[in-house]
Amino acid sequence: MMSALAAVLAVTAVALTVQAAALVRSEWADPFVSTAPQRVPFLGGNEPATHAWSRFHVRYYPMTLVFVAFEMEMMFMYPWAVVFIEEGATALVEMGMFLTILGVGVVYAYKERVFSWQ
């Protein structure tokens, strides 16, 4: 198990490093320098008055809260899936109950129009 995970880590690190190195090298070796007008974010020709980074109004934030609560439950499902056949109907009923309870939450959120924000 350890050697497998070590291989995952090694592969990830190498891919990440190679790509990052290519980008950094191109930044350094770039014969052209970006001028001030060139650096202006593209808006069709005009300049923005302010930086784009701002207190961005995330319209869907209630959805993210429901998501976090729902996603928590997924962590129980992985071990559940592994023992499902072993435990048989017990597993089906228990998870059914669990998901029904959470399903109520999603239905409630849907009814409260958490998933639309326009």
Binding site: V14, V18, A22, S26, A52, Y60, Y78, A81, L92
Partner: protein, 312 residues
């Protein structure tokens, strides 16, 4: 179950690099072929085959424009991390009988973690240039991503039920008799929707989309753009390979050797994703979120029920 021998780290790197280099190239060619055939343009095999190389050559000589006060660390990290995560996702997928780069016992959890971290990388891509269109696209993508994330977990868990294991190798073994695409018919379509979301293409092309002048990529030129496209195609490879392994029986198949079956099935999924990308119009993020929670999530529940009842 077959005894799988763990590849050493250097060999693992070589194998994954080979898979990704070939895969990214093939996936880019598929894009060209899909575009030209749908657009009704002439399709010369030689020209299509050289297309990605020519584009790469041109972009590598183009200036990488810097925006005003970008977050340079995240700007470099975004494509790098996306490629790294695609590579990580590829490692847990069995490529042929007895050959999996890293036979991790919790394969689908690791795959899911890579998918979740990919959301971070993609968000960085929208955030880092400090540009309004890119910022909006990045935030919009997160709304979509959080919605498809649940679907992907559900369908992969459904596939783990008959295998009694979280390892993708075991999931492939469990399909010796019947593939999951038949046992759990809702799984593959839902997973394809997730794949379109992760590669922000087709109906879920909400990141680098034309309605925001290129969205997250609006400020990318030269190497930046090349690196981002490479990482995007690598993600497509990872998801296509996962779909092939988890739903299409992986290396199971008659006559041909297992590795070839796996490659063919992966290619089929790549081609399908490529054509969907060209052929399907973008829908708005809000609409997808509503559909994902209101329709697709119940379908994922149903898929789990089918998988569970079928396994009993």
């Amino acid at each position: 179950m077959n005894e799988v021998e763990q590849l050493s780290a250097p060999l693992a790197i070589v194998v994954v690099a080979a898979v990704l280099v070939v895969g990214v190239y093939v996936s880019s060619v598929v894009d060209v072929v899909a575009f030209r055939s749908v657009a009704g343009q002439r399709l010369r095999p030689g020209s299509a085959a050289l297309f990605p190389a020519r584009v790469a050559h041109r972009l590598s000589r183009q200036q990488s424009v810097r925006t005003e006060r970008p977050d340079m660390i995240l700007r470099v990290l975004a494509p790098a991390a996306l490629l790294g995560l695609a590579a990580a996702a590829v490692t847990v997928i069995p490529l042929s009988p007895g050959i999996v780069v890293a036979d991790v016992g919790t394969g689908i959890v690791l795959f899911g973690a890579a998918e979740a971290l990919a959301i971070v990388a993609i968000f960085f891509h929208g955030w880092s240039p400090n540009s309004p269109f890119a910022l909006i696209a990045g935030y919009r993508f997160v709304a979509v991503a959080l919605s498809y994330e649940l679907l992907s977990m559900f369908v992969l868990i459904g596939a783990a039920i008959p295998a009694e294991s979280l390892s993708i190798g075991a999931i492939v073994e469990s399909q010796a008799g019947l593939w999951n695409v038949i046992r759990q018919p809702l799984g593959l379509p839902l997973f394809l929707i997730v794949s379109l979301g992760v590669t922000f293409s087709g109906p879920l092309d909400l990141l680098d989309s034309n309605d925001l002048a290129g969205g997250g990529s609006v400020e990318d030129s030269g190497m930046q753009r090349l690196a981002w496209q490479t990482a995007r195609h690598a993600m497509r490879i990872a998801f296509a390979a996962c779909a092939a392994a988890v739903f299409l029986g992986g290396w199971h198949g008659p006559v041909l050797p297992g590795g070839l079956w796996m490659a063919l099935k992966t290619f089929a999924v790549i081609a399908l994703l490529g054509f969907l990308d060209v052929f399907v119009a973008r829908i708005s993020a809000e609409r997808f979120v509503r559909v994902a929670w209101g329709v697709l999530l119940p379908l994922a529940f149903l898929n789990l029920l089918i998988a569970g009842v079928g396994a009993l």
